[in-house]
Amino acid sequence: SIRRVDGTATAELPRVRWRMATSWPHALDTIYGGAVTIADQVSAMSGGRFTIEPYAAGEIVPGLQVLDAVQNGAVECGHTASYYYVGKNPALAFGTAVPFGLTPQQQNTWLYEAGGNDALNRIYADFGVRSFPAGNTGPQMGGWFKRQLDGPDSLKGLKMRIPGLGGKVMADLGVNVQVLPGGEIYLALERGAIDAAEFTGPYDDSKLGLPKAARFYYYPGWWEPGPTLTALVNQRAWAKLPEAYQQMFESACQSANLLMLSRYDRLNAKALETLRQGTTQVEFYGDGIMNAARSATDDLMADIARGDAGFNGLWSEWKQFRQLARGWNQVTELSYARFSDGN
């Protein structure tokens, strides 16, 4: 094949082609879009000399195996969620979200400015990998229920699809937690094999058809108040990258982080409005469930911390940050939002 080459400022830099394995299907266009943003920007900034090709989940490796693929060098980089790998190290949960954790902006502050990402990178170094915040879904919803909830007791015995730490908390509240892949949620919920399911937010959930399978849509998604998505890079590949390209990659990840959050906030707001006009009944979990979930979360985190020194260390630092961030948020955004949006 023959094509024209643009020979300007970057001409002395080498051609680099990377493959990026992602945890997302094409259909989750907003979240997959994070990978596309990185690829597009890196290519534009380098005049087409540094290119990254993103691959959907399953194309190279399954969605939950992206860290393994980056670690072993099967791909140079990946786009995924850190908490998929809590089985390898429980502290990786903080890279995405933990129950009753941080809002999107607090998450960014922690990662970029309060040493959060450096702490995560110390963990990722054991895997020969480097991590970059590279997207945020914004606050998520609390899931779809076939029946209306009425306090913590109404959760007991419910069959719910909810993975991760949120699932562990739900299990502690007496929920029969099931872990199903995304594609199976709709059918299981529609037929009643499960009573409830959480996925992400109004925009993605609607695409999955969940509003047709269950009527009650609960908020907030207290287990994922502002989950960050992560770009992972193999350290050997990173070391070989010219410094200019390293900077391009890092900037592109920051771009993706901002753009995905903004895009999700726009799409979700609109999708929720549409749902409200349809058959969906949007409901608050209620103080009873929220309080029970929070105290179960505290117990669970303390429990994990007892068994894992690394988790304990990071959790302590993170808690200090959360304390500080909440104090600031209360007098600024929260007080303002209460006044201006609340009535």
Binding site: R4, I60, V75, L208
Partner: protein
């Protein structure tokens, strides 16, 4: 992948991969026709071409390290668990003699109808299709239960094989279906809408099979015997019911529990397996020897099916790394303009690819390439219809020789006396029926769009 030489502001690329990817298919054909197990043909050719690609600098040696991750993905795929449970149920019903008596009784009831047993297979196939979307489970289970009975009743081997394989693939179109879930992912169409939209086409497909089976056995008496000459001839109706009801109740219980959400397909399969054991015990066909035989059969079939998936994941990985997807992209780059041209060419390409690669890879490689044109030419509101069209088309890919996975699965459980050639021959009429139904769906989009539209308004 390949290298480029830059001169005078132009880059000239050489891609040995462009040659290796098509060669891979040729090598696979040779490997499979050599008669060596399909699974290792796929895996072996993948390794040979992977090493060749590395030697020619076309691929990075590290890319092979994606293989364990892909294998682990198969290991943790919950839907595949339906395979051993359903196979166990089928093998238990077969070994204990219940299946044979059941099908004979059904043949007896439908006896006046030429091809009655084949009709029963289409019926049971549709029921299984509406509950599990796992072709491997359906084809192997039905192969175990019904093929011996049909052969005993004097059915033509090709005809019997064709009915089973074709009915087994109905699960791809009749919801729930894995194909549709993957397509929903790729097209960005709601899986719920896809399921609703494919219901009428799926039932139409099943109906078309039923009609074909009846007409063919009327026109060609050698395909299906006039009446089943089995041991139950002349049995009193009451006796007949006693034979019919227990296994039918079991099968309906299993399928019903999935349909009404009492259990997932895997769990229902397990319940069915336990139920089959209980039934065998009641009917006196249960023994330690039988249990051991059934477990062994289940293990062999499961290992056989899974080995094919393992081999094909290796094949797909290497094919992709050699730029096979880019190759297909080139074919699709110059699609003709206009709705008709686009539809004809895209359907033809998917159909042709179905001869060689499995639906999963087709969905992954082809659909993203077709999506922009489909959106532009057909309009975003027609993506649902387009998705069902692709689904119906991909169903055929399970059936087309030489690489139809459904064919492999039946071959794996069919008795020796049924030759591979007979299976290959038996499947062609059903492929023709499928193509006819596909054309119908193209001509009448309302077949797809009516139900989802109804659900919007309600």
């Amino acid at each position: 992948m390949g290298f480029e030489i830059e001169a005078f502001g132009w880059a000239i690329g050489f891609y040995p991969a462009e040659v290796l990817a098509p060669l891979m298919f040729l090598a696979l054909i040779v490997a499979l026709l050599s008669g060596y197990p399909v699974a290792f043909g796929l895996g072996g050719v993948a390794v040979i071409f992977g090493v060749l690609g590395i030697a020619l600098g076309a691929i990075d040696p590290l890319f092979f390290s994606a293989l364990p991750s892909r294998i682990f993905g198969i290991m943790s795929n919950f839907t595949l668990l339906a395979i051993p449970t359903f196979v166990f149920m089928g093998a238990m019903l077969q070994t204990s003699g219940i299946a044979e008596r059941l099908l004979q009784a059904m043949g007896q009831l439908l006896g006046r109808l030429r091809g009655g047993l084949a009709l029963a297979v289409v019926l049971v196939g549709s029921l299984m299709a509406a509950t599990t979307g796992v072709t491997a489970a359906t084809v192997t289970t039905m192969g175990l239960i019904s093929l011996p009975a049909m052969l005993q009743s004097g059915y033509n081997k090709s005809f019997a094989s064709g009915v089973i394989v074709a009915s087994g693939t109905l699960g791809q179109l009749i919801p729930p279906s894995i194909v549709l879930v993957v397509l929903g992912d790729q097209l960005g169409v709601s899986v719920g809408d896809l399921f609703l939209g494919s219901l009428i086409p799926g039932l139409l497909m099943a109906g078309a099979f039923a009609v074909y089976v009846l007409i063919a056995s009327q026109l060609n008496p050698t395909l299906a015997p006039e009446r089943t000459e089995a041991g139950l001839a002349g049995v009193a109706p009451l006796q007949l019911l006693r034979v019919l009801i227990p296994p039918l109740v079991l099968i309906l219980l299993v399928l019903g529990s999935i349909f009404f959400g009492i259990a997932t397909p895997t769990e229902a399969g397990a319940i069915g397996a336990v139920g089959a054991m209980a039934l065998a015990a009641l009917e006196g066909g249960f023994s330690r020897t039988n249990l051991s035989k059934v477990c062994d059969e289940t293990l062999r079939v499961t290992a056989m099916v899974m080995a094919i998936l393992l081999g094909s994941t290796a094949f797909a990985l290497v094919f992709r790394s050699l730029g096979g997807d880019a190759l297909i992209r080139q074919v699709l780059v110059n699609l003709p303009g206009g709705q008709v041209g686009f539809l004809v060419v895209s359907m033809a390409v998917i159909f042709a690819l179905g001869f060689f690669i499995d639906f999963f890879e087709i969905a992954f490689i082809v659909v993203p390439l077709l999506l922009p044109s489909a959106r532009e030419l057909l309009g975003p509101e027609n993506l649902l219809w387009f998705g069902v069209l692709i689904g119906a088309n991909l169903q055929t890919s399970f059936l087309t020789p030489p690489f139809g996975f459904a064919l492999f699965f039946l071959r794996g459980v069919a008795p020796k006396e049924v030759s591979t050639k007979a299976i290959y021959q038996g499947v062609w009429p059903f492929i023709a029926v499928q193509v006819a139904v596909l054309v119908l769906i193209i001509l009448f989009p309302a077949l797809v769009n009516t139900l989802p539209a109804l659900s919007q308004t309600s």
